[in-house]
């Protein structure tokens, strides 16, 4: 092997070792484990979808000890979950700027398993996009896709750049193949919300919807690309949609300027940024187009 390669190989191993000082294994139930990163003192960030339940969790720390952890909160929309573990007295990693990455850059995904200790995967950035919205309203900025086959045990691990700075959390979500790095800004935003409120606030209009195929006659009469929409089957009494005059049986064609092809589109439009905004809804009622203005409120969380 040439000098350059040996140097690269050593650098990768050294980076892995450095990063591993901040990673833990997350044990949930009997089925395998995933990884997590000590993001702040006593606070671990991991991938939400890998947590099967919200029972108690256990973490394997770098010194091989096992410590219990409790769930602070979870947000399926961004695939992040925050755990509190007072015993994880570990240094917080150096964070880097994900915006500095471009296609072709090298990154490492570093995780941990109880049996083997640190685990590493080499990931080349396959593409980056300044911002991308996903199901449920998650906005990933930047959206960084990694060319890596992520083992399930490494899900939730740290994504580090060539400077050994953590730029995100690795997850297979939000990409059809490979993995993505949930960027540090997103993790911090979600962590702040989960630590202060226990959940990420969502927008709410008070509508129960189902997807429907639009009949031929309707498609012909309106200017629209999509062939499906959402039908209103439930309107929360005194909710924002009710106040705006939406009725059961109305077909919802678009919300806030975006075509609604199925209820998930409405869900996506109602992320935390939608709270307090006024959204225009294009409806079809009895075959006639109508428009209403809906004031989005914060989704009630059962208090009171």
């Amino acid at each position: 092997m040439s000098e350059a390669l040996i140097e690269l190989s050593n650098a990768l191993a050294a980076t892995t070792e450095r990063t591993a000082a901040h990673t833990v294994a997350v044990h949930t139930g009997s089925r395998g484990s995933s990884s997590g990163v000590v993001w702040r003192t006593g606070i671990v960030v991991t991938a939400e979808h890998a947590l099967r339940s919200d029972e108690e969790f256990h973490l394997t720390l770098p010194d091989k000890s096992v410590a219990p952890a409790t769930l602070v909160g979870r947000d399926a929309t961004t695939d992040l979950a925050i755990l509190k573990c007072p015993e994880a007295v570990l240094p917080v990693p150096a964070f880097g700027d994900p915006l500095g990455l471009a296609a072709g850059h090298l990154t490492l995904v570093v995780g941990r398993t109880r049996a083997s200790g640190p685990v590493a995967a080499l990931a080349i950035v396959s593409l980056t996009v300044a911002e991308r919205k996903h199901w449920g309203g998650a906005t990933l900025a930047p959206y960084i896709r990694l060319d890596v086959g992520l083992a399930s045990t490494a899900v939730g691990g740290a994504v580090v750049d060539a400077n050994a700075s953590v730029i995100g959390i690795a997850t297979p979500r939000f990409a059809r193949f490979g993995a993505i790095a949930i960027p540090t800004a997103t993790v911090n935003r979600v962590a702040d919300l989960l630590l202060s409120k226990g959940h990420v606030p969502k927008g709410y209009v008070g509508l129960g919807l189902q997807p429907v195929r639009l009949p031929q006659e309707v498609l012909g009469s309106i200017q629209r690309k999509g062939k499906t929409a959402a039908i209103v089957l439930d309107v929360a009494p005194d909710g924002p949609a009710h106040k705006a005059g939406v009725l059961i049986g109305d077909l919802l064609l678009s919300l806030n300027g975006h075509e609604v092809l199925h209820p998930g589109d409405v869900h996506s439009a109602l992320g935390p940024d939608s709270i307090g905004k006024t959204f225009v809804a294009q409806l079809l009622r009895g075959g006639e187009p109508r428009q209403v203005q809906i004031s989005v409120m914060e989704r009630p969380n059962g208090d009171g």
Binding site: R52, T77, H199, G206, Q210, L233, A236, R299, N301, G302
Partner: protein
Amino acid sequence: MLKIIIVAESVLARKEIEQLVRGPGIEIAASTASLSALDAVLATPDSVDLIIGTAEPAHLDDLLESLMENLAEFDSSRAVPVVLLVELENPRITARALRMGAHAVLPSNLPRARLLAALEAVSHDLVVTTPEETGSILAASPFGAAASGVEELVEALTARERQVLGMLALGLANKEIASRLSLSEHTVKFHVAAILGKLGAASRTEAVAIGIRQGLILL
């Protein structure tokens, strides 16, 4: 001697059940409109063998759910069996009640001897139905076949289950949900399990996705 508690909202209905069961072999420990008043009785082990409840057909689900919820609050090693008395036997109602955990759904005109036999069986943790019902129940499926284009829904969630599902949509943990609804975590787990079962979901996230698609979660 079977110790029973009678639960029914209407005074008349309670009196009717009292008349029906009163006699040798049965001790009526309490007759009430709601179980929540009976914390002390229920917390004492062996103080009650079973609960008999009745309601109007439209309110049977709610009655059963509130009974099951109240009972789930007690971390008893043996759950207190619940028997529903109904005016009109209906396979759909019976099937739903049994799935929700009732031990028996019996017609209110059952002769006393058969009723006692049924209650005795229930107190031994057996499930009792009348044979006429059993065939219909087991033949009918909650996911009814589409007939002539009139489609059946997934099995309906109760009001409490929809409320819990809405909170799952916020990503709240069981403990959070429990404190906001003033229930025990144990009860919340019971509701979450029922929701996953009814929606055919393998996880909370999947249940939320299905709930949104079905219009069960208000957005």
